[in-house]
């Protein structure tokens, strides 16, 4: 069988001038750069000699850290940006779920947008006409077909956009989970669409940080690190190899005061976070059974009546292990006007060996399921659980993320 995608030494380089990507500059900057030595220009290699073959019907998961080049690879396959060197042969129509709603115009009606969007995504007029009823039925917006989409709710807009994309019937489907942020409903729909598509024997390339989803959906896995292929193989072996290299180099504290780009009003911010063990030492390494004390240093910009603190623990695949609200433990933080120091202690850690991330969210009182987010620095620090020989068997993460030692009892023989 001929591969549907043959990638041969695909390389992509970007020129970086200061903080801006090359090209995006004014004429004046360009003129002045002619008088600067050429060595001043920095180059960034997003993809470095990437070669692989994808066979028809395979479902590839593409994993790697942020900025590793996963999205660049999809963009090259979708022909949005050309490789700097190397070549790719693609056999079949490519569509991607990152194009949902591309070209939608708020002033046009739903009907008009279906035609326009379909045409941008590469469908001919006749194909759109053929599938029109199906698209409309799937989107559930029949009654508003002749209403400009600016009057649509966000949900209606998304449903209409998704149903056009879902009816493309490409031979090769590209899905970038990283780009379809936020909307859980949409992510769910993308995943469902992917399994539908794969049942029809089409090929899928799926960029994701969601390791369980990659394990569940994919037949092959490609791990990209710093623009290079680190490993290809079955999802299980590649994901395990990827996880084993995500090493802990966290010293157990992080200064966040200088981190500028974060969500929230910043009326109060997390300036520093420290992880301490039972002995009060700041460290990023913990063994099963240890205590973990999370110390938060908060700096308000204005006096606040009440600050809610929500701390979560995640594994690097994005799966949440727990979420802890301050009021669950009967704690509350009121009338904050000066910098404060708060800590929470978790006794007897039971997480399996591996790396974990701590997320923090500061917000106002939750009312009607909504609140004002003050500060959301996200996963701001990591820690590593190590095996301190609590058991002589190897603790694999496939066996679950918790290591529990329950009380076992023998209740006698029952004839």
């Amino acid at each position: 069988m001929k591969p549907v995608i043959e990638s041969r030494s695909v390389t992509k380089k970007y020129q970086i001038a200061g903080n801006l990507p090359a090209g995006y500059r004014t004429l004046r900057e360009s003129l002045s750069s002619w008088f600067r030595p050429a060595g001043n220009r920095k180059e960034f290699t997003a993809l470095d000699e990437v070669s692989f073959d994808v066979l028809p019907g395979e479902r590839w998961g593409i994993i790697g850290e942020n900025g590793a080049g996963k999205t660049t690879l999809l963009k090259i396959i979708a022909r949005i940006t050309p490789p700097t060197k190397g070549s790719l042969v693609v056999r079949g129509r490519v569509a991607s779920l990152l194009e949902v709603g591309t070209g939608f115009h708020p002033e046009l009606t739903g009907r008009e947008n279906i035609f326009l969007n379909g045409s941008i995504l590469g469908l001919s007029r006749r194909e759109i006409q053929g599938k029109f009823d199906e698209i409309v039925a799937f989107s559930e917006v029949e009654n508003f077909l002749d209403t400009p989409v600016k009057h649509y709710s966000t949900g209606m807009w998304a449903r209409l956009a998704f149903s056009v994309a879902a009816h493309l019937e490409p031979e090769i489907l590209l899905v970038d989970e990283v780009l379809s942020v936020g909307d859980a409903d949409f992510q769910d729909k993308s995943l469902r669409k992917m399994s539908d598509v794969s049942e029809q024997g089409r090929t899928i390339l799926f960029v994701s940080h969601n390791m369980p989803a990659v394990r569940r959906l994919c037949t092959r896995c490609l791990w990209i690190g710093r623009g290079k292929i680190r490993r290809t193989g079955t999802p299980d072996e590649v994901i395990d190899a990827y996880r084993s290299t995500v090493r802990d180099d966290s010293p157990g504290f992080a200064d966040l005061a200088s981190v500028e780009r974060r969500r929230g009003t910043q009326e109060i911010r997390l300036a520093r976070i420290e992880l301490k063990n039972r002995g009060g030492e700041t460290t990023g390494t913990y063994a099963i059974g240890d205590d973990l004390n999370i110390h938060l240093f908060l700096e308000p910009r204005r006096p606040l009546k009440k600050v809610k603190i929500i701390v979560g623990i995640e594994e690097p695949g994005g799966e949440r292990l727990c979420t802890m609200y301050e009021n669950d433990s009967g704690f509350s933080l009121k009338d904050v006007s000066l910098p404060v120091h708060v800590s929470l202690g978790i006794g007897d850690l039971r997480f399996c060996p591996g790396r974990y991330l701590v997320t923090v969210l500061l917000c106002s009182e939750i009312f009607n399921y909504t609140c004002d987010v003050y500060d959301d620095p996200g996963a701001c620090i990591g820690f590593t659980m190590v095996n301190n020989c609590v058991t002589n068997r190897a603790l694999m993460r496939q066996g679950g993320l918790l290591y529990l030692t329950p009380r076992w009892e023998f209740h006698g023989e029952r004839p």
């Binding site: 990507p21 979708a78 022909r79 079949g92 002033e107 008009e112 035609f115 941008i120 590469g122």
Partner: protein
């Protein structure tokens, strides 16, 4: 299994994939259709705006002409100036819209592949549709002022002038669009440049007022001077200046090809730059 098969490499800018442009003609129509629809949505006058602009300018210039300067134009001045204004309008709005089109469509460009040339080209098509609407008034003016025309000559001159205008608008549009991808300065320079060019084009005055030979030569390099001259030859008694037409035609074709080449060269990386 689909028969679609293609190789993705860094394209060479000298490669003009005309067959692919043809395959994407539907999208070309769709984009123009969308722009026309959107442009006149929720407007009272709708497409009437296309006529209103040259009409207002025609009245303004006619009044000005009557009271201030008087040069024989051969035909009633309103018809004369209107014919120049609509051709100039087609060129200026076509080139101007095409120039900004790549930035306006950045979100599509960054998400979907299609031959990028479609975008500035469809911007010119939108102006062409506006132009078609203004012709209604043109014909009405000719009838109203009783301008004697010889239909085959009129249509022939009109078609040649239109062709030159479209070539010039596409060429300048490609050029502006390509420059705009890289340098945002261009966006501010375009209206200014077009304004300058307006005064260097015999739109509101006949060519005959230009007495200096040197100036006449410079004017002949401006394809719009020739295009408007040709289009007017169909209505006025002014004789056809074949030398001007030849240089103008050559200039418009050269601008078209040059703009196309420059655009092709710059669109390769546009998704990374925009």
């Amino acid at each position: 299994m689909s028969r679609i098969e293609y190789e993705i490499t860094r394209p060479r800018w000298t490669r003009f994939n005309v067959r692919e442009w043809w395959e994407y003609r539907e999208l070309f129509w769709f984009l123009a259709w969308r722009d026309v629809k959107v442009k006149y949505k929720q407007t009272l006058l709708g497409i009437g705006w296309a006529v209103l602009q040259p009409l207002a300018l025609m009245i303004l210039f006619s009044v000005f002409w009557k009271w201030v300067i008087r040069v024989d134009t051969g035909v009633p001045y309103p018809v004369f100036v209107y014919s120049g204004l609509i051709f100039w309008g087609l060129f200026a709005s076509g080139a101007g819209n095409a120039g900004g089109s790549m930035i306006d469509h950045a979100n599509i460009i960054k998400k979907v592949y299609f031959p990028r040339i479609i975008i500035p080209a469809s911007a010119v098509l939108v102006s062409l549709l506006d132009f078609a609407v203004t012709l209604v008034l043109y014909v009405a003016l000719i009838v109203f002022y009783g301008v004697k025309i010889h239909p085959p000559v009129f249509l022939g001159c009109f078609a040649l002038g239109l062709l030159m205008t479209v070539f010039a608008a596409l060429g300048c549009g490609f050029f502006f669009a390509a420059a705009n991808i890289r340098y945002r300065d261009v966006r501010y320079a375009i209206p200014f440049l077009l304004q300058l060019l307006f005064f260097a084009t015999p739109v509101v005055f006949p060519l005959s007022v230009v007495r200096s030979e040197a100036l006449a030569f410079v004017l002949s390099l401006n394809p719009m001077a020739a295009a408007i001259h040709v289009a007017r030859a169909g209505i006025s008694v002014e004789s056809m200046n074949w030398q001007l037409v030849a240089t103008g035609l050559a200039a418009s074709v050269l601008i078209f090809l040059g703009g196309l080449a420059l655009f092709n060269r710059n669109e390769i990386d546009c998704a990374d730059i925009l």
